[in-house]
């Protein structure tokens, strides 16, 4: 009797194992390849660390690298060794009196935002004070009435690279990600103000009061224009639509909200992993992979149907694509564009590992 029960249990396990994989949405062999790619990417990043724990002597890249380690399937934490703790020490050594975390006067907002996300990923309450100060810095950095801007100004609610610089969707998305990681009160006005800017960056005239707004639901770089890499203009493109959609979700907008639905529709309709969607260019392609993985994970659907009626399992397709693009040394970089530092393997490897980690979860 006991023997029969054990056999039945074993048979049940064997039969249900593929079902578990099917539910997971990724072929086990591909999953294994993706995990190995993550391991190789982390190995590359570990080799790029300077004795002070920094990667590329940059707070931003070090923070992204740290986050890649902490969120990996290996479950690394500070107790695993100096390759983790030294990166944290480097970030802490760059905390400034105003709460920002940055090695330079440039990119203070960007650096602080990604550092907040990384420090929050340590889940160590020891860093709560640093995180709180960084959160305060980012909130103060938002363009609003305190800086003499009225709500009808197209910069209102945005957050730029640093100082009083003009804001853009890319920085807003990273700042909101940092603020969310830093457990910012959902009732804090920073979210609603940010939504004013986010709305004004979406090609959706029902929620965008700017004259140029079209109606495809996608996002532009900032109200009224795109970077020259995408011929300026106001056409929606993939990197910013992913950034805009994830910003809407971070700011607490419901999945059923028409703004979210419109952006999701644009993203799935224009889906491609070959170029930055909505363009014919490969500029910012790895930025797109990273933001796309985050937004699809946040949106919570494993598959979707594109504009041609074809069904896509995004996790598998993204993992396959990223695995195929990895260099022999474990790194990734964009061979087709140096825009936005995508020729820098340390940055792109950290982004890609994080993207793969989102696809693997």
């Amino acid at each position: 009797m006991m023997k029969k029960f054990l056999l039945a249990l074993l048979a049940g396990l064997v039969l249900t194992t593929p079902a578990v994989h099917a539910a997971d949405g990724m072929d086990p062999a591909l999953k294994e390849k993706a995990r190995r790619a993550v391991d190789a990417g982390l190995h590359y990043l570990r080799g790029q660390q300077a004795p002070d724990g920094s990667v590329a002597r940059s707070v931003g890249i070090t923070a992204l690298s740290l986050r890649a380690f902490l969120e990996s399937h290996r479950g690394y934490n500070e107790s695993d060794g100096a390759f983790i703790s030294r990166q944290i020490d480097f970030l802490l050594s760059k905390v400034n009196k105003d709460g920002s975390i940055s090695e330079s006067l440039q990119n203070t907002s960007y650096n602080t935002a990604v550092a907040l996300s990384a420090l929050a990923a340590t889940k160590n309450p020891k860093y709560d004070a640093v995180i709180a100060a960084g959160r305060k810095f980012l909130i103060q950095h938002q363009i609003d009435e305190a800086g003499g801007y009225k709500q009808d100004h197209r910069y209102y609610g945005g957050i730029g690279y640093g100082g009083d610089e003009r804001p853009d969707m890319s920085n807003v998305y990273l700042a909101l990600e940092g603020l969310k990681a830093a457990s910012t009160d959902p009732k804090d006005p920073v979210w609603q103000k940010a939504l004013v800017f986010v709305n004004r960056s979406q090609n959706r005239s029902e929620s965008n009061d700017q004259k140029w707004a079209a109606n495809d639901g996608g996002f532009v770089y900032m109200p009224g224009w795109n970077p020259p890499e995408f011929e300026n203009g106001t056409s929606s493109y993939g990197g910013m639509t992913a950034a805009g959609l994830v910003s809407l979700l971070f700011a607490g907008t419901d999945k059923s909200d028409p703004r979210v639905q419109a952006a999701y529709k644009w993203m799935t309709t224009n889906y491609t992993l070959e170029v930055n969607p909505g363009t014919t260019k490969k500029h910012g392609l790895f930025y797109f992979y990273n933001a796309f993985a985050k937004v699809m994970k946040a949106y919570g659907e494993d598959s979707f149907v594109d504009g041609k009626g074809q069904k896509h399992a995004w996790k598998s397709e993204l993992a396959q694509k990223l695995v195929s693009l990895q260099a022999a040394d474990g790194s990734w970089s964009n061979p087709d564009s140096n825009a936005w530092w995508e020729d820098k393997p340390q940055l792109v490897t950290a982004w890609t590992v994080i993207a793969l980690e989102h696809a693997l979860k």
């Binding site: 006067l105 100082g163 009083d164 890499e229 140096n338």
Partner: protein, 247 residues
Amino acid sequence: MMIAARWSMLAVASMLMLAAFGATATDLQPSALRVAVTAVIGLIATLFWPGSAATPARTAFRIGAWSAAAACLAAIALRIAGNSGQPFARILAACGMLLLILLVTHAVAAGLEWRWRDQSEDAESAREMAGRAAALALAFVGSLPLWLGPAAELLAGRHPWIIDAVVGMSPLTHLAVASGNDLLRNQWFYQHSNLAALQFSYPSPAELILAYGSVCLALALIALASRGPRSRIDGASPTQPTTEQAI
């Protein structure tokens, strides 16, 4: 008298330029306004260079006085135009950097003027030409990130320091650093310069002060080394016959 007239012309021209600029640039952040005002006044001040004096020491004094006058004018313009968005410390930093830039630029103008006077005997046209040449040079070097950007990007693969060098050599960058402005990421530069999306670092304020301080010191030493009245200046043009009176 001549200096006072030129200063009035500088003030009027600067205000007109800034008024025209303000009427067309609607989205200027406070830090970008500091860069714009100091850059415009810096260029016009050089164009209106009042000419060198009878001796190197007096010329050095005039360079300092003219540069300081232009920097003060920029501070006043910023105070008027900026309302509460222009903290005093930021105005001071931006105008201080303008002063350093103008000290060097006017020294170059004085040097050119001396050289051309020696060659042409026409003091008036030598002064005008020197002012124009120095202003042109300032605009040329200031816009380095724009016109040298594509070449720098091409060469950056083999020489990664080139982009930092091109960005760091521009006096416009120096004004932006002092103004707390991320110059290349301003909307206009972001749209028109290829460097904005690439990796680069601005020089630090300390590095800039050290660099300008060294250049000013070197120029002062050169002026001291060539001390003594210059005979040709004594026969200067009617607009500049009595440099002693002017100073």
